[in-house]
Amino acid sequence: MIALVDLFSLAAIGAGVFFFFAGTVGLLRFPDSLTRLHALAKADNLGLGLVALGLLPRADTALAALKLIVIWALVLLSGASTAQLIGRALRRGRK
């Protein structure tokens, strides 16, 4: 049972790290700001979500688990909004 939970954590966190890695590569390699933004948003939303998911079974208390979810939700919220804002600013700058 414990081994199974560990395996789940490992898989989820591993997948999360992969998305972060991919996002970082995108940030460094993509040609323009909008596509880089796209790469970053993937890393933030999916990557962090998977890492938080993987950590959930390892939380000591229900409160700690709740905090993990809240952290992910907050990052999701601010990440999505700032991506919007940066995108808008870029479009305005281009005109």
Binding site: V70, L74, L77, S78, A80, S81, T82, Q84, L85, R88
Partner: protein, 316 residues
């Protein structure tokens, strides 16, 4: 062999790299952005130094609120012509500055490496005093800030009042009493309004929570207040609310609430516990929380006031 040492080294290199970028970047705005990223990473170093209270303060004040301040300033100044600040330094100046900086950094590093072993510490005294004047506080940092070295903390709150007045005082004479210029654009984007509406209430709850647990866990009036300040600033940037007029009685009362209550409690010390800035053993925790509540308010108001700047005659 744990992986932590490698992470530490990577973090250190990244931070020094960003610091170099901040100093060396050609464009003003790039340098500002480098500094803000640097501040965020620095908070991680504080976690590694077993200083969660400092990490929270650094993230909220040192990086977050300072970031807004500097980016706003950088944006306004970045558009200005290059070279208006004066001639670029010559080679001799560069060599002199470089030599001096190397000398100071080298000497400092050498001295840090030979700090005495075992290190002197006041932790035992602080632990012993916890049974006395600082009774009932699980977070020793809060005990130091509000009890053992409360005098410093009170004075630092007075410094904040002076800083706010100093910032206001660079405004124009005819604008005195008016509100500072709005923080955001005239027509804020939907996304920033959405962010403020969603984030500000949650952030405010978290801010109060951080203050409340601060007596026993990492957190306290400084960190909670900074978070509340940030939420208010987000709301102002989305134009959901505007900076208040600087002659508003309520604003001024909120700004001085922390130091005033602290000062009165300090003055009442001789009656309560026989000495200025002493608290009676049995009531130390409620008194400290009471003082901190007003400090929370003052910090939450002072930081946005400092960012918003002097009063502006401009009305939109």
């Amino acid at each position: 062999m744990s992986v932590l040492p490698f992470l530490d080294v990577a973090l250190a290199l990244l931070i020094v790299g960003l610091a170099v970028w901040t100093i060396a970047a050609r464009v003003l705005f790039a340098s500002v952005v480098g500094y803000v990223a640097y501040g965020l990473l620095l908070a991680l170093v504080w976690v590694r130094l077993y200083a969660p209270d400092v990490a929270l303060t650094e993230a909220a004040v040192g990086s977050g609120v300072t970031g807004v301040l500097l980016i706003t300033a950088g944006k306004r100044l970045g558009a200005a012509r290059a070279g208006e600040a004066g001639p670029a330094p010559g080679l001799a100046q560069k060599l002199f500055a470089g030599a001096l900086a190397l000398l100071v950094a080298g000497a400092l590093a050498a001295v840090i490496l030979i700090l005495p072993d075992p290190a002197p510490s006041l932790a035992p005294q602080a632990a012993a005093a916890a049974d006395g004047p600082g009774a009932g506080l699980g977070n020793p940092i809060t005990a130091v800030l509000i009890s053992y070295r409360s005098f410093d903390t009170m004075l630092e709150k007075v410094v904040l009042i002076l800083a706010v007045l100093g910032v206001w005082s660079v405004g124009a004479d005819k604008a005195w009493g008016a509100a500072p210029a709005p923080l955001g654009q005239r027509n804020p984007y939907g996304a920033s309004v959405f962010l403020a509406q969603m984030l500000a209430p949650v952030g405010a709850v978290i801010g109060v929570h951080i203050f409340w647990v601060g007596a026993d866990a990492p957190g306290g009036a400084f960190q909670g207040g900074a978070l509340l300040a940030a939420m208010w600033m987000i709301a102002m940037m989305a134009r959901i609310t505007e900076p208040p007029r600087i002659d508003a009685r309520r604003l001024r009362l909120a700004l001085v609430a922390g130091p005033a209550v602290f000062l009165i409690a300090g003055l009442a010390g001789p009656l309560m516990a026989g000495s200025f800035f002493a608290f009676p053993h049995a009531f130390a925790k409620p008194i400290i929380l009471f003082i901190e509540a007003f400090m929370l308010l003052s910090i939450a108001v002072a930081l946005p006031a400092l960012v918003a700047g002097p009063p502006s005659g401009r009305s939109e």
